[in-house]
Symmetry: C2
Subunit: 381 residues, 2 copies
């Protein structure tokens, strides 16, 4: 091992994670100390070798402040080298083993420039996605093809109507993968063709967004097939595929497609107020670092239970300074109705992807007309 590696890290060579810890001060301090060891050496304090490992590798409590009754906020730093500059090992340092312990919640990550430079983040980000869609001012509008059980022909007809109606991003519902009802390749071919046909008529730049979440050995295959067939973006559920698989898709220069990240299977990280990961860190910081251009999550007031404050925290995290990593769009959805769009503009401004699903089916069977009504309404706001 070279001396350079063993030399004491400069201040900027540590990342800082803010944790919310349950308990009185003594208990919270014990939790903070436990995190320092568990997330690095995973070794009892008295057995840790003195010198470099004890001085540098172990986590370090940088600050500790009261955050409420029976609650403390601790900032704990870790050496950048402990992450191996890999996304998964970074996640492991932040919340690996201690995810299994109660009373510890990740509130946010502060990553130094030297670490941020190891990640490209989103390929498009807010500006890039707006340029792709040629939508400069209003929120982007996304809908989902559903319900599961329709044939590829039926889904393609939905796609065509939504594209005629001016919906920007027409994505597969996240549960559509390769079911016999509408197999991936057939659905991809028909829906891409439907969008292309509609765009040729309208002059718009609507895109079809196939869900490529599927077999690990076929993820790249589906993504590249999507590109070949003319898909305009990809839908990925990183809690299922793994976050680094999404990062790999984002970094693939031969693919170069925007990515919409779906939160399926990952809700357990946010359902407890005293454990897991904060909404901002999970749906904002982590999704962004892992290459999503838009991060889908359930909006406040819909059929899920996120609060307005939690959604505001997500939106803030998608755009806060993060070195070279571009801002991405929050994409609130879940039980959205036409009427609630005004609420959303108030909270998110115009910098979001508005996800509307069943709401577009409520006004009768003419989906193109329903979509146009909604797009017009949003453009007039």
């Amino acid at each position: 091992m070279s001396d350079a590696v063993r030399s004491p890290g400069a201040r900027e060579e540590r990342l800082v994670v803010t944790y919310l810890l349950s308990g009185g001060e003594a208990e919270a301090r014990a939790r903070a100390k436990d995190i320092c060891f568990e997330q690095t050496v995973e070794f009892p304090e008295d057995l840790v070798p003195t010198g470099f490992i004890r001085d540098e590798v172990i986590g370090r409590v940088e600050s500790m402040t009261r955050a409420g009754p029976e609650r403390f906020r601790a900032e704990i730093s870790f050496p950048v080298d402990s992450t191996a500059r890999e996304l998964l090992q970074l996640m492991n340092v932040v919340f690996g083993n201690i995810s299994i312990k109660p009373g510890i919640r990740v509130e946010r990550m502060s990553l130094p420039p030297t670490l941020l430079r190891s990640f490209r983040g989103p390929r498009f980000g807010r500006d890039g996605l707006r340029a792709c869609m040629k939508v400069s001012r209003r929120p982007l509008i996304c809908t989902a093809l559903k319900p599961m059980g329709l044939s590829a022909v039926e889904l393609a007809e939905q796609t065509r109507q939504f594209a005629l109606g001016g919906i920007d991003l027409i994505k597969d519902d996240h549960g559509l993968t390769d079911q016999p009802y509408a197999p991936f390749v057939e659905r991809l071919a028909r829906c891409s063709a439907a969008v292309a046909e509609a765009n040729a008529g309208t002059g718009r730049r609507c895109v079809y967004v196939p869900n490529v979440t599927g077999r690990s050995d076929d993820l790249l295959g589906r993504a590249h097939e999507a590109r070949r067939r003319g898909a305009g973006a990809l839908l990925v559920s990183p809690f299922l595929t793994g976050f680094d698989a999404m990062r790999q898709l984002a970094d693939d220069d031969g693919l170069a497609l925007p990515i919409l990240a779906h939160p399926a299977f990952g809700g357990s990280y946010v359902t407890s107020e005293t454990a897991g990961i904060s909404h901002g860190a999970l749906y904002g910081q982590l999704m962004r670092l892992a290459g999503a251009d838009a991060s889908i999550y359930p909006n406040f007031g819909g059929r899920f239970s996120f609060t307005r404050e939690e959604c505001e925290a997500i939106a803030a995290a998608t755009a806060e300074p993060m070195g070279p990593i571009a801002p991405i769009f929050p994409a609130p959805g879940g039980g959205m109705t036409v009427e609630r769009a005004a609420d959303m503009l108030e909270v998110y401004g115009r910098e979001f992807v508005l996800l509307i699903g069943a709401g577009l089916h409520r006004r009768g069977p003419d989906l193109a007309r329903n979509a146009r009504f909604f797009v017009d309404m949003l453009e007039s706001m």
Copy 2:
């Protein structure tokens, strides 16, 4: 769409998921109904097309019984076709969107033979791993190389000593990936050589188990490099890599190495009693289906908070009938000491992998001697 696909599925063509639902009867019934829609069509009831989709695709509440005060147990069935016979989409049907809703906990999955046949599960399982290690009666013994910050030379010396002492599986600590302290390839080469050298002297079959959790585009590369260098098994953290990546490694005929699954980053699924996934379903059923030969989790009484009953549920799920999917080993660890081995034999019988880490460092610097003491003790029990 062919008539065959549209025809009503026979009874065995549905999988059944048992959920624990919070609330009084009316609330629990509402949750059950919500699951039926949210996990399949994700569409309001009144908009779901009649016929095939309404009759077959939507989840179906098969039974509902009281499980305690303010708690109900619901068995809900879904069509096998909704899973596309893919692991990730199966996980998505079982707990995709509803992971984000409070008051819903997955207790177990009952998968019909037609679905189980789509998965190979563990390549080795209990019998296969015992055959690899040539250990027929006692629990297998596994330890972890640590602490992070040691060089590859130092870790290889630990490996040599543990192998001389007779530890069966000598794994990387799950936090060791490709840090500059001990880069992956150097560590792999040195530790594999150390085990081979020790085995040549002892005639034993100890194996080195490198952690291949890392970049998605390098997971297969690291795994195959591990095989070429003589590693005897692989350590994977599927909550980080994604579960299907582990499945892919298990199914790789050119690799054919046993897999130890690590629970890092996945604790949030079990930290709430009213949400997430049960210990048995997560560490038992899911790990097994996804190809792990041994499932690591924190033992009761250690430095984590699992109860004895939760650990018993995991052990039961690793061996219960599951069609063609072989039983796997529970691998309890986390703060294990030499003295607690008797407790474990009582709970797990001899069918487990005993994971002991720092406990082997407690008896002085001669790790080979410490290991031998422990192996001898276990063999005499």
